[in-house]
C-alpha cells in the first residue's frame, strides 16, 4: 500500500498483486529475494580442503549461502571432532564433494561415514530430513547413497571437480537454489503466500546481488569488485578474468558484529583512522554499546568518525579474506616452458589484481547512507587501496538484489536500471603504484574538464580532490621514476577518466606499500590534512577545539 502511495499507481486488487499490467494499474512482474531466518546456512565437505573443499565452498557462497564450516579429510580434526561439529552446527543443508571422476572413492566415502555417524538434523523444523547434495566422484554415488540415502534427503548432481583442471559449480548452485526454495524457505512463515505472488524463483539475497555484479562485468567487459557491508556480515563479490567469486565474512559488520571487527583488527588498527586521540576503555565501551543497541544512529561527528573508522577495518578485513579465497584452481598440473618461469600464474594465486580493477561498488548503510558521498569514497579507497585508475560507485537504495533476479529474466533492463538508477557514481581514484621517496613527484597529471584544463604534480603523501562531472574526460598521466599508473613502470598513460558526485581523487599516499605513520601526532596531522583536502569532515576543526 505504501508503494501504491509512493508510485501513484494501483498495484493491489484486495490482497492480490495485479499482474500483468492492465493499463495504468498493476505490475509487469513481481520478484523477491529472501534472507529469512538469517539466510541460508550451509556446511560443505571435500576430500582435500584446498581443492574440492574450496570448490564446494565457492559453489555454496556463489549460491548466496553462509558457509558455517568446511569438512575435509585433511582438515586436521579427528573423526569424533567432526561428528560433534556437525551435530552442533545444525546447518540448513550440506554440500558434499570429493574426488575427481574415476578417482579413488575411499576418502569421500569416509566423509559420508562421518555424516552418517553424526546423523545431522536441520536447523529449522524437526520433522524433515536434512538435505544433502552430493557433487563428488561419480563412482562413489552408490556407496554414498547406501550411507546417506536413508537418514538424509540425498540428491546427486554432477561432480563439482570432474578433473583437477576443471571446476563445474553450476549444477551444485542450481540444486542449492532449488533446495533453498523447497526446504529452507518452506519453514519460513508466509512462504507459501509469497511463492504465489512471485513470477521468478525466490533467491537468497546475496546470491541475487552476485547475479547483477556478474551481468555488469559481462555487459561492459570489465573487472568489478562489489561489497555489501551490513550489520552482521560483509559480502564481497568480484569478477576478474571473467571469473566470479563471492565471499561472506559472517562476523564482520557494523552493528551486530561490530565488536568482532574491533577484536579481529585490534584497537590500533581502528584508531589509526581516527583524526583525534581516544581513551581505549571509552572506545571499546562505545563500540560495545553499538553492538547491543544496533539500530542507533551516530548523532555527534565524533561518533560518526569512529563508525567510519570501524567500517574501513571491516571492509579491509573482508577484502583480505576475499583475496585469499578468489584464487586460481589449486592442484592443477601445468606444463611450463622457460618463458613461464619468468612470468607465471601458479595455481592458488589470487585472481584479485587491483591494478586491473575497473570499478569498485559499495553497498550497505555505512556507505550508501554516509552523510557525505566524499566519506563513502574515502572509506572505499582507504579500505580497498585501489591501484591505477578505478571508478568508484555506491548503491543508492540497495536495489542490487532485486536487479539480480531481474537480470535472470530480463538482463538488458536490469543492466540499464543498474546504470541509471541504482548506481551513484562517486568518481575515480587515481593511485600511482611503487616505492617513492619523501617529497617525490609520483605523478604529473593533465585532465581536461568541460571548461578548463587542470594540470599539476602529485607528491608522495598527498591526497587531492578535483571536482569533475560524470562524463568522459581526456587525461594524461606521466608517472615519476619507478612508478606505475597502469601502463607499466615509467610509462605515460593517456586515457579517459570519469568524475562523479565527488570527483577525481588523486591518491599519492603510496601503494605497495601504503603506510600510515606510527607516530601519533604526525598521523593525526596527516588525517586532518587529507580530510580537509577531500571535503570529508568539514566540521572536524570545531571538534578539535
Amino acid at each position: 500500500m505504501e508503494l501504491e502511495e509512493l508510485s501513484g499507481r494501483k498495484l493491489l486488487d484486495g490482497e492480490n498483486i495485479i499482474s500483468p499490467t492492465q493499463g495504468e494499474t498493476g505490475v509487469d512482474i513481481y520478484i523477491s529475494t529472501s534472507s529469512a531466518g538469517g539466510g541460508l546456512q550451509m556446511m560443505v565437505g571435500g576430500v582435500v580442503k584446498s581443492m574440492t573443499g574450496e570448490s564446494a565452498q565457492r559453489a555454496a557462497l556463489g549460491a548466496g549461502a553462509i558457509v558455517m564450516d568446511v569438512l575435509a579429510s585433511n582438515d586436521g580434526r579427528l573423526y569424533h571432532e567432526k561428528v560433534q561439529r556437525i551435530r552442533q552446527l545444525r546447518p540448513d543443508m550440506i554440500l558434499l564433494s570429493g574426488g575427481v571422476d574415476g578417482g579413488t572413492v575411499t576418502h569421500v566415502v569416509e566423509l559420508a561415514e562421518v555424516l552418517e555417524a553424526a546423523n545431522p538434523k536441520p536447523r529449522l523444523g524437526m520433522n524433515y530430513k536434512l538435505p544433502v547434495i552430493y557433487a563428488g566422484n561419480k563412482n562413489a554415488r552408490e556407496p554414498i547413497k547406501e550411507r546417506l540415502g536413508e537418514i538424509t534427503d540425498l540428491m546427486t548432481v554432477d561432480n563439482i571437480r570432474p578433473t583437477l583442471e576443471e571446476e563445474n559449480l553450476q549444477p551444485s548452485r542450481d540444486k542449492i537454489h532449488d533446495l533453498f526454495m523447497e526446504h529452507v524457505m518452506a519453514q519460513a512463515p508466509g512462504y507459501k503466500k509469497l511463492m504465489g505472488w512471485t513470477d521468478a524463483p525466490i533467491m537468497p539475497t546475496p546470491g541475487a546481488v552476485g547475479e547483477i555484479i556478474k551481468k555488469i562485468a559481462e555487459a561492459e567487459n570489465i573487472s568489478v569488485v562489489g561489497v555489501d557491508i551490513g550489520g552482521a556480515t560483509t559480502d564481497v563479490f568480484s569478477v576478474f578474468q571473467r571469473q566470479f567469486n563471492r565471499t561472506v565474512s559472517a562476523n564482520l559488520g557494523m552493528s551486530y558484529s561490530v565488536c568482532n571487527v574491533l577484536a579481529e583488527s585490534g584497537f590500533d588498527n581502528v584508531a589509526r583512522w581516527v583524526p583525534f586521540n581516544m581513551d581505549k576503555t571509552d572506545l571499546t565501551n562505545r563500540i560495545g554499546n553499538k553492538m547491543i543497541r544496533p539500530t542507533t544512529i551516530p548523532q555527534s561527528l565524533e561518533a560518526l568518525i569512529i563508525e567510519q573508522a570501524i567500517a574501513r577495518e571491516a571492509l579491509r578485513l573482508s577484502f583480505e579474506q576475499h583475496k585469499e579465497f578468489a584464487v586460481h584452481l589449486k592442484g592443477v598440473q601445468t606444463e611450463r616452458t622457460i618463458s613461464d618461469a619468468f612470468e607465471q600464474t601458479s595455481s592458488g594465486e589470487t585472481l584479485v589484481n587491483l591494478m586491473e580493477l575497473d570499478m569498485l561498488v559499495g553497498s550497505g548503510g555505512v556507505l550508501s547512507h554516509a552523510p557525505r558521498r566524499h566519506q563513502a569514497a574515502r572509506m572505499l579507497i582507504d579500505a580497498f587501496l585501489p591501484e591505477g585508475i578505478t571508478q568508484l560507485a555506491v548503491d543508492s537504495i540497495f536495489m542490487m538484489p532485486q536487479l539480480g533476479i531481474l537480470s535472470t529474466i530480463h538482463p538488458k533492463a536490469a543492466v540499464e536500471v543498474f546504470e541509471k538508477d541504482c548506481l551513484i557514481r562517486l568518481g575515480t581514484c587515481i593511485a600511482p603504484v611503487g616505492k617513492g621517496k619523501s617529497d617525490q613527484v609520483l605523478l604529473h597529471y593533465e585532465i581536461s574538464l568541460p571548461d578548463e584544463r587542470i594540470t599539476g604534480d602529485l607528491k608522495l603523501g598527498e591526497l587531492k580532490l578535483i571536482p569533475a562531472p560524470f562524463e568522459p574526460l581526456q587525461a594524461k598521466f606521466t608517472p615519476g621514476k619507478g612508478i606505475d599508473i597502469g601502463a607499466g613502470k615509467n610509462e605515460v598513460l593517456e586515457t579517459k577518466v570519469y568524475g562523479g558526485v565527488v570527483g577525481i581523487l588523486l591518491d599519492g599516499r603510496g601503494r605497495q606499500p601504503f603506510v600510515l605513520s606510527d607516530e601519533n601526532e604526525n598521523r593525526v596531522a596527516l588525517l586532518n590534512e587529507w580530510s580537509k583536502e577531500t571535503d570529508e569532515y568539514p566540521q572536524l576543526e570545531s571538534l578539535r577545539v
Binding site: 502511495e5 509512493l6 531466518g37 538469517g38 573423526y79 569424533h80 561428528v83 551435530r87 572413492v105 575411499t106 566415502v109 569416509e110 561415514e113 562421518v114 552418517e116 555417524a117 553424526a118 546423523n119 524437526m126 556407496p143 552482521a232 562476523n251 551486530y256 558484529s257 565488536c259 568482532n260 571487527v261 574491533l262 577484536a263 579481529e264 581505549k280 576503555t281 571509552d282 571499546t284 565501551n285 562505545r286 563500540i287 560495545g288 554499546n289 553499538k290 553492538m291 547491543i292 543497541r293 544496533p294 539500530t295 542507533t296 544512529i297 551516530p298 548523532q299 555527534s300 561527528l301 561518533a303 560518526l304 547512507h369 552523510p371 557525505r372 543508492s396 537504495i397 538508477d421 566540521q539
Partner: protein
C-alpha cells in the same frame, strides 16, 4: 531515491509520524509470562496441559547420541577394507565394553592372528567395506529440560516440549552472560547509581541473585563467584572486563552457554551507567522472593534478551499486559537516550517534528525534542531513544 521526498507531500503526513516505534526493554510488574521449554531433539514430554509445575521440575527429556569413535580396522589388522566385515566378531548395534576383542584377522593357516580391542564402552554402529572403518558409539547422553519457572502447562508439543504460563514480574536486561540460574533476590546497593563492590558480598549470599546499581568491576565479579552467588544484575559493566571473564572478546552478542559461575545481566550497557530507576525500584520491591534469571542473549534476527522473572502464583488480579501501542513514542512519553552524547539520560518527549533534521554528524534523521529531568532541552534522533513503559 525520491521516495522520501514524495512522502512529505502526503497531506496527512503528521498522522504517520506522530508516533514512533522504538521498543524498549520489558520492565513489567504484573504480567502474563509464557515460556517455551524445548528439547534439542525429539524425546519424551512428561507432563500434560493443565499440570502445575515447580521451577526445578523436569518437563521433558531425551537422549543425545553419544560420542563416536572411528577405528580403522583394515589398517590395524593389516587387511583389505573389503575383508573387514567378515573379521568383525560382533554384530551391528551389539553392546561392547572397553578392552573387549571386537575384530580378528584370519591369519595365516589360522595362526598369527591380529586382534583389535574396543577402546570404549558402547555399541558397534557401523562397519565399512570401502574405508575399512568401524564406527563405535558411546552410550547416549541423557538430557533433561526443567520448567525454569513455576506455573501451569498450557501447551504440549508432542515429543518436543511444553509451554508454561505464569504471572509475575518480568525485567529484561540489555545483555547477559551465563545461562539459567535461580535464587532469592537480594538488594546489595543503596541506590541505582551506586557501584556494587566486593565488600558488600559475603558467604550469606550463596545461591542468591544480587541486585547492584550502576556498575561492578572484575574483582567484584570474581569475589561474587567465590561466594557462590547465583546471579548479578547491574546497570553497566566494562567491555574489557567482559572479555576477561569470557576469556575472549565478545564479537557477536550471542551468549548463554558460557560456564562462568553467576549469571550476569546488565540492564543499561557498557560503562558506568546508573540502572534505570524503574527497573531498580521494581526489583527492590520484590526483594526476598524466589527469582529465575537467564543471561542468554541474542542480538540478531530473533532477538533474545536476558531476563529476571519472579513468578507470583498468589496473584489473581488483572495482569497489566503491555500492548504494541504502548511501545510507541508519542508526545509526553517517558524515554531514555541509548547513545552518546546523552547516553543513559531520562526525559520526556516534548515534540516529534515531522521533518528530517540534520545532526552534528550531518546525518539527516527523524528526531524528537526531549526535555530532560533537569529542565534542559535537546534534539535527539528517534532511533537513539528507548521507551520507558510505565
Amino acid at each position: 531515491m525520491n521516495g522520501r521526498k514524495r512522502l512529505t507531500n502526503i497531506p496527512n503526513w503528521r498522522v504517520y509520524v506522530s508516533r514512533s516505534y522504538t521498543p524498549g526493554l520489558k520492565i513489567l510488574a504484573n504480567t502474563k509470562i509464557s515460556k517455551k521449554r524445548q528439547l534439542p531433539m525429539k524425546g519424551n514430554v512428561h507432563l500434560k496441559i493443565g499440570d502445575k509445575v515447580k521451577s526445578n521440575e523436569i518437563v521433558a527429556s531425551t537422549e543425545l547420541p553419544g560420542n563416536v569413535q572411528m577405528l580403522n580396522v583394515a589398517n590395524k589388522l593389516n587387511i583389505e577394507p573389503e575383508n573387514v566385515p567378515e573379521c568383525m566378531l560382533i554384530e551391528l548395534d551389539e553392546s561392547i565394553s572397553k578392552g573387549q576383542i571386537i575384530a580378528e584377522s584370519k591369519g595365516i593357516f589360522g595362526m598369527f592372528k591380529n586382534q583389535l580391542k574396543s577402546p570404549i564402552d558402547g555399541t558397534l554402529a557401523n562397519v565399512s567395506e570401502i574405508t575399512g572403518q568401524a564406527i563405535l558409539a558411546e552410550p547416549p547422553v541423557p538430557v533433561e529440560v526443567d520448567a525454569y519457572t513455576s506455573g501451569t502447562i498450557t501447551a504440549v508439543e508432542e515429543e518436543e516440549g511444553v509451554t508454561i504460563e505464569t504471572e509475575g514480574v518480568l525485567v529484561q536486561g540489555i545483555l547477559g552472560i551465563g545461562g539459567e540460574n535461580r535464587g532469592v533476590l537480594k538488594v546489595v546497593t543503596a541506590s541505582p547509581n551506586d557501584e556494587l563492590t566486593a565488600e558488600v558480598i559475603n558467604e550469606s549470599h550463596k545461591g542468591m541473585i544480587l541486585l547492584g546499581g550502576a556498575f561492578l568491576n572484575m574483582d567484584t565479579f570474581r569475589h561474587a563467584k567465590k561466594m557462590g552467588v547465583a546471579g548479578i544484575v547491574s546497570g553497566g559493566f566494562d567491555y574489557t572486563d567482559l572479555s576477561k571473564i569470557l576469556g575472549y572478546s565478545l564479537g557477536v552478542a550471542i551468549t548463554g552457554s558460557e560456564k562462568i559461575g553467576p549469571s550476569l545481566i546488565i540492564t543499561e550497557g557498557f560503562g558506568k551507567i546508573g540502572m534505570a530507576e524503574r527497573t531498580y525500584a521494581l526489583l527492590s520491591a520484590n526483594e526476598g522472593k524466589f527469582a529465575s534469571i537467564n543471561g542468554s542473549t541474542q542480538i540478531r534476527a530473533g532477538v533474545i534478551r536476558p531476563e529476571i522473572l519472579i513468578p507470583d502464583e498468589l496473584n489473581h488480579g488483572e495482569c497489566n499486559d503491555f500492548k504494541e501501542a504502548d511501545l510507541a513514542i508519542s508526545e509526553g512519553s517517558l524515554i531514555r537516550v541509548i547513545r552518546a552524547p546523552y547516553f543513559g539520560r531520562v526525559g520526556k518527549v516534548k515534540s516529534l517534528p515531522p521533518e528530517l533534521m540534520k545532526m552534528e554528524s550531518e546525518t539527516m534523521v527523524r528526531v524528537a525534542e526531549i526535555e530532560f529531568e533537569d529542565g534542559s532541552n535537546e534534539v535527539i534522533p528517534r532511533a537513539n531513544l528507548e521507551m520507558i513503559l510505565t
